[in-house]
């Protein structure tokens, strides 16, 4: 697994910066929480109630009790983790394969005694490891910060884990999609752009699915709908069909990545 190790070393810096930034962000959000439950915060809640229903729906505020730190997180902090974290996942996935061709290092790598399958396996594992570490560290940081700043006696661990898996699952889907797209491309810039385009399109689709009944079917096509924090707060569980879709898609992206790269002409 020398390629895996090599890739981890190459992405280490990026991973470190992104993870650190998000841990700080989580700290910020968590430390604001006590002021939410204070009197002034209560006022804000009252104001929120007056907002139009559609508005609340769009931001996923319908069923949230903002005096609960997990709800508070599901409403605000998590949105950033999910969406901006997706940018990280897309970036990691999108460059993982294509960078060899873009930087013309493919010539070195492919002249070594290693099968294309193994190259993809190493890079795939590196992508997964990056996303797991990124979301894993945020998860642990949250667990700590939430328990420090929680104002109520109880802490709903089940909901915490469910919510923590949300960004992980979404990032895995996005990362693997980008990884696949990366095997199709020859230039890093283009792969980046396409992957980011996909992230925001998928996200927009999830918002549209929520807001417009006619477009409700879109929720089956975007991971942002599969794992919607406000829904999960309401249901306290994942929907089986979404889990199945997530698995099918992830495995699907992996399989097509292998298939495509195996037959690809590498131009240098």
């Amino acid at each position: 697994m020398n390629t895996f190790k090599w890739e981890l070393e190459r992405t280490r810096k990026l991973l470190l910066i992104w993870t650190l930034a998000f841990v700080l962000l989580q700290f910020m959000y968590s430390s604001f929480f006590p002021s939410m439950t204070s009197e002034k915060g209560g006022l804000l809640l009252a104001k929120l109630d007056m907002l139009p229903k559609v508005f609340l729906k769009m931001f996923g505020l319908e069923y949230l009790d903002l005096t609960n730190i997990l709800h508070y997180y599901a409403m605000q902090g998590q949105f950033i983790v999910i969406l901006i974290g997706s940018v990280f996942a897309a970036k990691i996935g999108a460059t993982m394969v294509v960078k060899e061709e873009n930087d013309r290092t493919a010539e070195f790598l492919m002249s070594k005694p290693v099968t294309r399958k193994k190259i993809i396996t190493g890079k795939l594992l590196a992508t997964l490891a990056n996303i797991l570490l990124f979301d894993g560290v945020i998860m642990i940081a949250n667990l700590i910060f939430f328990n420090i700043y929680n104002t109520s006696e109880s802490f709903d661990f089940k909901l915490f884990w469910l919510l923590s898996l949300v960004p992980l699952f979404i990032h895995l889907t996005v990362g693997l999609l980008s990884f696949f797209l990366s095997t199709l491309q020859r230039r890093t810039g283009k792969a980046d752009m396409i992957s980011l385009g996909c992230v925001f399109t998928l996200y927009a689709a999830s918002v549209l699915a929520k807001l417009t009944e006619k477009l409700d079917f879109l929720r089956f096509f975007t991971p942002y709908s599969y794992f919607d924090p406000s829904n999960i707060v309401k249901m306290r569980s994942f929907d089986t069909i979404y889990i199945v879709l997530f698995l099918i898609e992830s495995v699907g992206f992996v399989i097509v990545s292998y298939m495509y790269f195996e037959r690809k002409d590498i131009y240098i």
Binding site: D103, T115, I266
Partner: protein, 304 residues
């Protein structure tokens, strides 16, 4: 014994663009085989097929009897490769890259590490420099070292002298000869004829994606000619082996493929102001040397 390299009807089209067409080549084990042709003729395409960066449109290729497109990773255990243009991971040290390279090969890693140090010293390569900071020539040295660490049985070098200064070029040629003495087969592409002549036993000439000739270097030299330019008061040229005579004012130029001694004794009797004797360019060689073949091919094409 199996050929070191064997290609049969190897063809590669990039969409509609020609890469190479029906290339047949056999390289014997233990020889230094030159592969020459102008830029864009298909040298790199051929090599990239051999290493399975590309898949062929049709045809077969084998190295030591192994299929280039199905057993490529086994073949690479035995090959050392230098690309035409060297690019490596910019942010790592030379040492890290070479160590990474070593991890791919089976065999004694300690021995490879020793060899890495030996070769780097020989080429005066600093292992602790970052690759991004290296000059083109130094990057090329990295690729030379990288291609030899694992003691390959065949070297596939795509224009290896590109970007190397003459001193290092000689060092490389010496090394290639040494390796060859130990039985290593060398497949060497270049667009510089003299370079190939210095080193190779046989050459294949590729042009517009097709092999136009496979020759012993000795034969090539016999048919090989010089471009002569003379300024001065020269009368009739009465040399056998001079052709394409051209006269502008008092400058005479012609192609000469006869006995050099004859040329010298002829010139010694003339009053000459200036003289140049040049190697012909590859294109010039193709024009004279292969003009017959081309005409024949054209006929075939027109007939078809």
């Amino acid at each position: 014994m199996a050929d070191a390299i064997f290609m049969e009807k190897l063809t590669k089209y990039y969409g509609k663009n020609r890469g190479i067409v029906d290339v047949d080549l056999e390289v014997e084990e233990g020889e230094i085989f030159g592969f020459i042709g102008p830029n864009g003729a298909g040298k790199s395409t051929t090599i990239r097929l051999l290493l399975n960066f590309l898949y062929p449109t049709s045809g077969t290729a084998r190295i030591f009897g192994k299929d280039c497109f199905r057993q490529s990773h086994e073949i690479k255990e035995l090959t050392g490769y230098i690309p035409g243009e060297v690019s490596y991971y910019e942010d790592v040290k030379v040492k890290d890259l070479l160590e990474y390279s070593i991890t791919f090969y089976r065999g004694d890693k300690e021995k490879y590490r020793k060899r890495m140090i030996e070769l780097s010293e020989r080429f005066d390569l600093n292992l602790d420099r970052k690759i991004g900071d290296l000059s083109l020539g130094n990057k090329k040295k990295v690729s030379v070292v990288q291609s030899l660490i694992h003691e390959p049985k065949i070297l596939i070098y795509d224009e290896p002298t590109n970007g190397l200064d003459p001193l290092i070029q000689n060092e490389l040629f010496d090394l290639i000869k040494e390796e060859n003495k130990r039985g290593t087969t060398v497949f060497f592409s270049s667009h510089i004829l003299s370079e190939v002549q210095k080193l190779c036993t046989r050459v294949a000439i590729i042009r517009q994606g097709k092999i136009v000739a496979v020759e012993n270097v000795g034969n090539l030299r016999k048919k090989y000619y010089k471009v002569i330019k003379i300024e001065g008061d020269i009368g009739e040229i009465t040399l056998s082996g001079a052709k394409n005579l051209r006269r502008v004012d008092n400058t005479v130029s012609f192609l000469f493929s006869g006995d050099i001694n004859e040329l010298i004794s002829f010139l010694s009797k003339k009053h000459i102001e200036n003289l140049s004797i040049e190697e012909p360019s590859l294109e010039e060689i193709f024009m004279s040397y292969y003009s017959k073949e081309e005409k024949r091919n054209e006929h075939i094409q027109m007939g078809a």
